[in-house]
C-alpha cells in the first residue's frame, strides 16, 4: 500500500504500522532477570492482536454501563500496560494511565483520589493483582466498578476476531493525564484524539523524527514524558520503543547508556536529574566501549534544565561518541499534551547569561562585569503552539525580553480538567487585557528572546519582596556557591507571612556538607555569612537561615525540591535544626517557644 496519508488518530497510526511492517518490534521491554536484563519483544502484529482482545473484552464486560466513564489502568511497568492502553483506544474508551498502588502510602492515596475524582467505570490490571484491586474497590465504596484482568494468562486468542473499530471523533477524550501534583488534589487533564495527533505531529516536526525511529527510555509509562514522548511517539512514526523501569535505571544508571548502545537508540528523554545521576554514578569501567553516537535527540525537560548538568554530561561522555547537539532542552507539560518547544536537534543547547538584578525586575539583560549573573538554558522556539508572555497581575502581553507567565494556545492544548468546570474556565480560557482569548495559563514564568523560550520558574514559588520578584532557585544557588560548607542542590527557599504586619519573610533552609556538621561552633558565623551574602546580592535584609544536615531537604523522586512541603515542615516545627537565625516575627510563627539555636537532630515536638 504505497503513499498512505498521514495517520489521523493513534489507532490509525498503529493499524498503518501493522499493515506495513507487522513483524517489526513495536516495543522491547528490558526486564531485570536475576542480574541481567531480559528483553521482551512485542511486534506490531502482536500489539494489535492483544489490543483487540482487550477492546473486545472491555466492550463485552461493560455492556449496558455508561461508556463515557473512563477506564483506570493499574499496571506494574510492563508491556501489558501498553496493550491495555491501546485496547482502550481500540474500544473507544477514555483511558487513565496510573501507577500500580502495590504498597500502602502516598501512591495508594493518589490512585484512590483519582478513582473518586474520575468516576471510573472499570479498572484494568494483571491477573495477579485482580483480587487485591477488587478488595480495594470494595473498601473504597466502588463495588459497581468492574475489575478486569488482561495479559498473557487471559489471552485465549478467541476474542481478537470479535473486535470492530470504534467510531471516534477528534473531540472525544482519548485519555486523562493526572499530573503528579504532589501538593494539590488530582486534576485530570483531558487529552482528545485531536490533541494527541497535533502534539505527535509537533514533536515529529520539532525533533525531525525519521520514520521507523528507535527510541529508548526508563521513564514511567503512565507519565506524560514517558507516555507521549517515549511510548506513543515511536508508534506514531512506525518505530520501535525500548523501555526499562525507573527502578532498573536508578539501580544502575549505566543500563540506560547500555540500552542506547545495544539498540542504536536515536531518541531518549529524561528530567535533568537522570543526566546528573549518570555523571555521578556511571564508572569509567561501565562506560568504556559504549558507543552513544546513534543518539540524535536526548530531551531534557520536566524540571529546570541546568547548564552545568548539560556541560558535565557532554564532557563525561564525549569519549563515547556523544554529540553535544544531541542534548536537547525542551519545555512541555501535560496540559499541552506534552511538547511546547524544544531546541533545534542539529544545534547545541543555547545558553544565555543574564544580569541577575534585571532578572529580578523581570527583564533579561546582558550580564555586566562585576555584577551577579545567572545562566539560563533556552528551551527552543515554539512552533505549533502559540506562546505569549503575560504579566500575571495586569494580564498585559509583555514584549520580548520581559519575564511573565507563559500562556499557550493551539491544537495541542487540552480541553480542560475532567469534571472541573470552574477551574477549567479559569486556567484554560484566559484572556489578555487587550482581549485575546482562549489561552491556557501555565503558572510557569519565562521570557521570549529572539523567539527562544527561557523558562525561569514557577509563579506559586516566587517570592515577592517590595515589588521585586525573587526566584527561590536563584537564592538557593547563590548560597550554595558562596562556601564549601553548603551542599549543592540541598537548599529550599520560601516565604512565610506573618499576619500581624502582613509581611513576607524569606526563609533559607540549607543543608551542610558532612564535614561541616561536626562541630557546633562554626555554625553561627556560617548563618551570618548567608545573611550577609543575601543582603549584598539580593538586597534582602535579615533573612531567616536554618542550617540542617544532608538529606533533610525533601525532593520528589524526579529530584524536584518540594519547597511547599519544606515550608510546612518549617512552620510545624518539624525540621531537625542544627542551627538557626530567625527574625522574632518569624520565630513567633513556630509552635516551639524556644528559638535559641538547638544543637539537636531530633524533630521538635509537634504538639
Amino acid at each position: 500500500m504505497p503513499h498512505q496519508p498521514d495517520p489521523r488518530t493513534l489507532t490509525d497510526a498503529v493499524r498503518a504500522g501493522v499493515d506495513r511492517h507487522p513483524d517489526r518490534a513495536a516495543f522491547v521491554y528490558l526486564h531485570e532477570d536475576g542480574l541481567g536484563m531480559r528483553p521482551e519483544e512485542l511486534s506490531y502484529a502482536d500489539l494489535d492482536r492483544r489490543a483487540r482482545v482487550v477492546a473486545a473484552r472491555l466492550r463485552h464486560a461493560t455492556k449496558g454501563g455508561d461508556p463515557s466513564r473512563p477506564v483506570l489502568l493499574l499496571y506494574p511497568p510492563t508491556l501489558d500496560f501498553v496493550t491495555a492502553f491501546l485496547g482502550c483506544f481500540y474500544a473507544g474508551r477514555t483511558a487513565i494511565p496510573a501507577p500500580l498502588p502495590d504498597e500502602p502510602g502516598e501512591r495508594l492515596a493518589r490512585v484512590s483520589s483519582i478513582l473518586q475524582d474520575a468516576k471510573v467505570g472499570a479498572v484494568l490490571t494483571l491477573p495477579a493483582y485482580r483480587q487485591a484491586i477488587g478488595a480495594w474497590l470494595a473498601a473504597s465504596g466502588e463495588q459497581d466498578v468492574m475489575c478486569l484482568a488482561t495479559g498473557a494468562d487471559e489471552d485465549d486468542g478467541a476474542d481478537a476476531g470479535l473486535w470492530t473499530p470504534p467510531r471516534v471523533g477528534g473531540t472525544d477524550v482519548a485519555f486523562l493525564q493526572y499530573s503528579s501534583g504532589s501538593t494539590s488534589e488530582p486534576k485530570g487533564v483531558m487529552i482528545t484524539h485531536a490533541n494527541l495527533a497535533a502534539n505527535q505531529e509537533a514533536i515529529r516536526s520539532a525533533m525531525k523524527t525519521p520514520r521507523g525511529v528507535v527510541a529508548g527510555s526508563w521513564l514511567p509509562l503512565y507519565h506524560d514524558m514517558g507516555l507521549i514522548g517515549m511510548t506513543l511517539h515511536p508508534l506514531w512514526v512506525g518505530g520501535t520503543s525500548v523501555q526499562m523501569s525507573p527502578i532498573s535505571f536508578v539501580k544502575q544508571p549505566a543500563r540506560w547508556l547500555r540500552m542506547i548502545h545495544d539498540y542504536r537508540v536515536e531518541g531518549t528523554a529524561s528530567p535533568n536529574f537522570g543526566y546528573e545521576l549518570c555523571v555521578r554514578r556511571v564508572s569509567e569501567e561501565q562506560s568504556s566501549g559504549l558507543d552513544l553516537s546513534s543518539l540524535r535527540v536526548a530531551l531534557n525537560g520536566a524540571e529546570p534544565v541546568r547548564a552545568d548538568t548539560l556541560r558535565a554530561f557532554v564532557r563525561r561522555f564525549a569519549g563515547n561518541g556523544l554529540r553535544p547537539e544531541a542534548l536537547l532542552p525542551c519545555y512541555g507539560l501535560a496540559e499541552n499534551t506534552l511538547l511546547v518547544s524544544g531546541n533545534d536537534p542539529d544545534a547545541p543547547p543555547v545558553e544565555l547569561t543574564v544580569d541577575a538584578q534585571s532578572l529580578e525586575q523581570d527583564e533579561l539583560r546582558p550580564a555586566r562585569t562585576d555584577h551577579p549573573s545567572r545562566t539560563l538554558v533556552g528551551c527552543g522556539r515554539p512552533k505549533d503552539t502559540e506562546v505569549l508572555i503575560v504579566d500575571p497581575m495586569t494580564l498585559r502581553v509583555l514584549p520580548e525580553g520581559q519575564v511573565g507567565e507563559i500562556w499557550l494556545r493551539g491544537p495541542s492544548v487540552a480541553v480542560g480538567y475532567w469534571n472541573r468546570r470552574e477551574l477549567t474556565a479559569r486556567t484554560f480560557q484566559a484572556a489578555t487585557a487587550d482581549g485575546r482569548a482562549g489561552y491556557f495559563r501555565t503558572g510557569d514564568l519565562g521570557a521570549l528572546l529572539d523567539e527562544e523560550l527561557y523558562v525561569t520558574g514557577r509563579i506559586k514559588e516566587m517570592l515577592i519582596q517590595h515589588g521585586r520578584n525573587l526566584y527561590p532557585q536563584d537564592i538557593e544557588q547563590a548560597v550554595q556557591e558562596s562556601g564549601d560548607a553548603f551542599r549543592r542542590g540541598g537548599g529550599a527557599v520560601f516565604g512565610v507571612t506573618d499576619e500581624a504586619s502582613d509581611r513576607t519573610h524569606v526563609v533559607v533552609v540549607q543543608e551542610l556538607r558532612p564535614q561541616a556538621t561536626g562541630d557546633e561552633e562554626p555554625l553561627a558565623p556560617l548563618a551570618a555569612s548567608v545573611q550577609a551574602l543575601l543582603s549584598r546580592q539580593f538586597q534582602l535584609p535579615a533573612v531567616n537561615v536554618v542550617l540542617v544536615r544532608p538529606g533533610v531537604i525533601r525532593k520528589t523522586t524526579s529530584g524536584k525540591t518540594q519547597r511547599t512541603l519544606m515550608r510546612q515542615l518549617f512552620l510545624d516545627g518539624g525540621l531537625p535544626v542544627l542551627h538557626q537565625r530567625l527574625e522574632p516575627a518569624v520565630a513567633a510563627l513556630l509552635p516551639a517557644t524556644d528559638t535559641a539555636p538547638r544543637p539537636t537532630t531530633a524533630a521538635a515536638p509537634r504538639h
Binding site: V250, K251, H261, R264, S288, T557
Partner: protein, 111 residues
C-alpha cells in the same frame, strides 16, 4: 524483522568473569558504610552501622541506588526495598552475609 541488540558480544563488561568480593562481615560493613555515606552525602565516619538509615533522611533514589550497587558488587539479586526491610547497615550486612554463604554452598555443589 526483529530488533535485536546489534552488539551482543561487543565491548561489554563480562561481570561473571570478574572476581566477586568475599562476603565476610568486616569487608561488607566497610564497603556498605562507604556506599551509604556516598548516597546520603555524608562522610563514612558519620554513618553509624546501628542507626536506622531513615534517621539520615534516606530517599527512594538513594535506597534503590544502594540496592543496585549491592547487586552489582556481590552478583546477588536483592529487593529494591532492602534498605527498608533491613533498616541499618548491620541489619543489611547480616542479611547479605547469610545470603552469600548460601550462595557459596550452592556454587560449590555439583550441578
Amino acid at each position: 524483522m526483529s530488533i535485536a541488540p546489534t552488539t551482543h558480544t561487543a565491548p561489554a563488561r563480562r561481570p561473571v568473569e570478574r572476581s566477586v568480593p568475599h562476603g565476610n562481615a568486616p569487608d561488607l560493613d566497610l564497603w556498605l558504610t562507604e556506599r551509604v555515606a556516598f548516597h546520603l552525602h555524608r562522610a563514612p565516619d558519620e554513618v553509624d552501622p546501628d542507626t536506622p538509615l531513615a534517621d539520615y533522611g534516606i530517599d527512594s533514589v538513594a535506597a534503590i541506588s544502594i540496592c543496585g550497587e549491592i547487586e552489582e558488587r556481590y552478583r546477588l539479586p536483592v529487593a529494591p526495598t532492602i534498605a527498608y526491610d533491613f533498616p541499618t547497615v548491620h541489619a543489611i550486612t547480616g542479611h547479605l552475609a547469610e545470603r552469600l554463604a548460601d550462595k557459596a554452598k550452592h556454587d560449590e555443589a555439583p550441578s
